[in-house]
Symmetry: C2
Subunit: 656 residues, 2 copies
């Protein structure tokens, strides 16, 4: 009975989507009545609710399902923490300044934008691609602040095209000075002004502040939540009864003072992250549940493919990728697969999702392996989740700086038995013979390697042994002062610094790409935007539409209460507009179901049920419809199944 | 069958509670491996979970129940917003400096601490109170940074005692210079050093930062979430179909650079707030649902009582308080009652909860009325929720500064008909006669009040009228240039700036006082701490305790899955400790229920169920126990009812 819906009848139109998102207050530039500051966005009711539902699903999928330890740590962070972590020295982007205006641009973005514009111009000159679509009607309303790059239809040589494409494929691999070299070699100017740009300089992306009334504590706003996990490692380990593996998880705000935040929610200065730190034995990175995800198939864009200048991913199962060493270990592979499952569950189109491996220069020096979940959208492929094996770096540096051991002490089932030479002094005789030099002598002997001790032992067996102090003095030792014997040692505790696997989610980026993937217009009416958000994350699950205000108040209250009892989040639209207009508003809000209360509801206690994507309508008693909607929202049935439970409604209800 | 439990057998011991909270990682000083910075706390797994459950209940109680519009706005805020709101000028505390060491103290806290110490010394001298309890065993572990106030047993005159008490009762009413006067009059020194203190100076509590790479945008970290609501008022109003009343709600981090944050979670520099801004017609502050709360009885400490130097609250119903004008209006009263219901629902002891009205100096000049929910705890009465009628202040100042109208336009059912005198010029003749002075003449006439126009009209009827320009020149106007007529005007739109009622919750304070109210020790064993958190907010609802590791893995998985399907959050404790020790750990974590899996579970498929407070145990089949626990957690039955559904378990299960 369910009809198929063509969601691709009209090409994706970003301007229409943005207009919808603003009109329905999914989100909006923060402080816009004050002209605001770039890179800050406020979420309105549907955006907040969508975000809350994505977070709730994240919590279920990761924290509850995997028994992770959730924490909530502070944003304000004293400077020493980020000095240790390396952020003060290295958490920076390369920026260039316009030589005349002083405008600031991010160096890698500049190169990317200019090369892409030149390649587009080349295609145009070759007659390969249509002109970028211009919709005059919308153009006037657009008011985009970023000046468009001038795409001159200039044909390039085949070699230059290949070179540009090769550079673009590995742009993340370029250092600041190398980006500067590219600007000179390829005559890259500021496209807004045509002026030359300066040498790239580093700009630290952390926001600074000062803690306390006397200004004695410089601090930063965290650019990620991870350090809050690491500094609490001891307490977390204890909470987990001293055992690894375990994971901590945190959802919270982070801040990055982006150089040029221009792309809506994709590059902002304040954002919500969800981060997991999975602590694991460095000698055993297998994962207990790896078998559950072994067959999950992914698009993997590995390091070698990128180095060869290609961006074509390979389809592989996680199992095959780990077996072949493409993904470094089981635990990393497990999380890559779980990330895939999460993203597709909340509604990301799997055909527009790939995992890209970091290249050598791009990855931190200590990391073992790193994969980004990239989601395709109108601006290209965007990193939305990172998944890195950070080895023992973080715990090691914090432990070194603070002197606090951040280690696991594991009782060994089979103690490790080792034999080694052990030197023992007769301290009394030693002291009597050498006086204050006794200390030096002990130090020299105790610092000898195994071979040194064996040599001394041999000399002692011959009658006496000679050692040399660091300042060149010789001491002759007799067997009654020093004995060296082979001893058997038993080690029953193993102490190690765990490694960290870190899946790190940018929730705003996921939310925005999800909105793009969900947006379409009805075939018969391009103006009627629909957001086909999955019921799981839709801000509101069902809209209650009374035919008119007041008359149906009691019924509205009854139906609302029934939905609330069933755990279904509903809203009422009792505005004065026509039912059709209210449903159209609802489609824009991504609400999957709507029920209408009219005179038949009063007389027959029936209600119609409308599905957002197909616009099909069913009819049934109030209780039947509530039951069907509850099942739909809980995911126990889908719409075709609902259509078998209730008769179709084709227009008018019988009212006697 | 359920036995009664004496929770007050031992006096409340803050040191024991704090040790428990640290040991079980409810929360801990942030960055303590770095020695940290005062006023920052991290929440561990049980603290995060408790906070999440309080927030979840808050969302249900306020946002869902009242159909509020949830938003999520940025923490980073450009400076002009807080210049407009008044925070840059006035969001400050008075601090004094130690004249020799330069140590900084909050002036009001200094006066309070010194007066309280003197009053305690007086009581001691009179033999009225026992010495503060000192527990030597704990003392060594304490390492409290704040030096204890020296409580000298000095008797004061009765007049001085009365004076101190009067000042303390209205301390919030003192300005900075007045606090300085108190320090001089009463010889108040820094109790840590005995040195004099400086004159009080203002210290702004907002953290500053700079937004963007060029430092051109000074910004602040918000000290409250409220401005995020106000700057989005237009969008919210539109989302609500242009109608008031409606409320927006937001849960999020805020920051205050406290001068001396010393009291654990009660005075911190970073904290989570939940704020509601209820926008209402200034001419109609009735509340639709006021009847639902009319009979809620509260302890009210009103302004007059405090001014009279007393701190004894009155018991009154909300209805009576609004009727008598003690609480300014229905909407404010409605929220005060809803706050009371929320706090007691999550577990705050109602006998330790009062609502204190702000005194004149304490309240912002624009506010109509303000009540704080204060919760008693070991440090005294602490403000945990504020509830203010802020009148039209916020929207007015933002609108004035930005030029953006932040108003409601309401279609009037009955248009307002008014009659007034209207001046009309014959512009052609006016221009011909007066040339460039025509403009001045029009301005003068148009700015005349009603009486002025009537007077002019009279003169015109006499032949001509004379007016005087601001620079003193006289102009004689003839009736063919100016006519004045009485006209009937119809106004069908009413435009107004809504008022704001603002309930504002400090979640960390509520969480901490709840922990104090929930903490007790078993009568037979003072070391066995228990947190009797209500099931509704308890971090974990049920603990699964297998008799030993490995053997019961399948059963543990089965029972976990059954709980998860029933929506009951469980955790497994499969550590090697005895079941008794695991239950004791569990009592400290506030987990209300525990189930044990042992050999009988394998053979008979039974399970025992233990209740935290009574330590009573019941027994039943796995499915029966899961069903009973699910009902307990959902609140459909209580423990005595559970005891009628399952037989009591008294020690040993039958294993064949």
């Amino acid at each position: 009975m369910a009809t198929t819906v063509t969601k691709t009848a009209h090409p994706f139109d970003k301007t229409r989507l943005e207009a919808l998102l603003t009109r329905r207050f999914f989100y909006a530039p923060a402080f816009d009545i004050y002209q605001g500051v770039a890179g800050l966005y406020d979420y309105g009711p549907p955006g907040s609710s969508l975000q809350a539902n994505i977070i709730s699903e994240w919590r279920k999928h990761f924290i509850v399902e995997e028994g992770m330890l959730e924490i909530d740590t502070t944003i304000l962070t004293p400077a020493p923490v980020f000095e240790t972590s390396g952020h003060v020295a290295r958490f920076a982007d390369w920026m260039v300044k316009d030589a005349k205006t002083g405008d600031v641009l991010r160096a890698d973005h500049l190169v990317k934008n200019v090369f892409e514009a030149r390649l587009a111009g080349d295609k145009e000159a070759r007659g390969l691609a249509a002109q970028p679509k211009e919709d005059d009607k919308d153009k006037k309303q657009k008011k985009r602040k970023d000046k468009a790059l001038k795409t001159a239809a200039v044909q390039l040589s085949d070699e230059v095209v290949a070179e540009y494409e090769r550079i673009l494929a590995q742009l993340d691999n370029y250092s600041g000075p190398e980006l500067g070299q590219l600007c000179r070699d390829y005559k890259i100017m500021n496209p807004d002004t045509g002026n030359e740009v300066s040498e790239p300089q580093q700009f630290n992306l952390m926001f600074t502040t000062s803690i306390g009334p006397t200004g004695q504590h410089p601090g930063y706003l965290r650019p990620e939540t991870a350090q809050g996990h690491f500094v609490n490692f001891q307490r977390l380990l204890e909470f987990n009864n001293g055992r690894v593996p375990f994971a901590s998880a945190q959802i919270g705000r982070s801040f990055r003072n982006e150089i040029s935040p221009r792309a809506g929610l994709l590059r902002v200065r304040e954002f919500t992250m969800a981060e997991i730190e999975h602590f694991v034995d460095p000698d055993d990175k297998r994962h207990e549940r790896f078998a559950d995800v072994r067959d999950v198939e992914l698009s993997l864009l590995d390091r070698d493919t990128q180095s060869a200048g290609s961006t074509a991913p390979r389809r592989m199962t996680v199992g095959a990728a780990v077996d072949a060493g493409v993904i470094a270990n089981e635990t990393l592979g497990y999380f890559v697969a779980r990330i895939y499952q999460f993203l597709t569950k909340v509604g990301i189109n799997p055909s527009r999702l790939r995992f890209r491996q970091h290249m050598a220069n791009e990855m931190a020096h200590y990391a073992t392996d790193c994969w980004d979940a990239e989601i395709e959208n109108s601006t290209g492929w965007t990193e939305c989740v990172g998944c890195a094996d950070r080895a023992a770096y973080d715990l090691t540096v914090h432990s070194k700086r603070t002197g606090v051991p951040l280690v696991v002490r594991e009782a060994l089932k089979d103690p490790i038995i080792t034999e080694k030479e052990v030197a023992e002094f007769n301290k009394k005789v030693l002291g009597k013979t050498f006086g204050r030099d006794a200390g030096v002598i002990q130090e020299v002997v105790n610092s000898l390697p195994e071979e040194g001790l064996i040599k001394l032992k041999g000399e002692l067996a011959q009658g006496s042994a000679t050692i040399v102090s660091p300042d060149g003095r010789e001491f002759k030792l007799a067997p009654e002062i020093l004995t060296i014997e082979r001893q058997t040692l038993k080690q029953s505790i193993r102490e190690f610094t765990p490694n960290v696997i870190e899946p790190s989610f940018g929730l705003g980026r996921i939310l925005y790409t999800l909105l793009e993937h969900s947006f379409w217009s009805r075939e018969q009416d391009v103006d009627r935007g629909v957001l086909s958000l999955p019921t799981l994350v839709a801000p509101t699950k069902v809209l209650i539409v009374p035919l008119s205000v007041r008359k149906f108040d009691d019924l509205v209250r009854e139906v609302s209460n029934k939905f609330r009892k069933g755990g279904v989040f509903s809203r009422v639209d009792d505005s004065n507009q026509s039912i059709g207009k209210r449903y159209a508003r609802n489609d824009e809000l991504g609400t999957p179901f709507g029920v209408t209360l009219d005179f038949a509801s009063i007389q027959n206690r029936t209600m119609t049920l409308r599905e957002r994507d197909t616009t099909e309508q069913l009819i049934g008693s109030i209780d039947e419809v509530v039951a069907v909607v509850t099942d739909l929202v809980n995911g126990t049935i889908d719409w075709p199944a609902a259509c078998t439970r209730l008769p179709r409604y084709t227009g008018t209800q019988n009212v006697d």
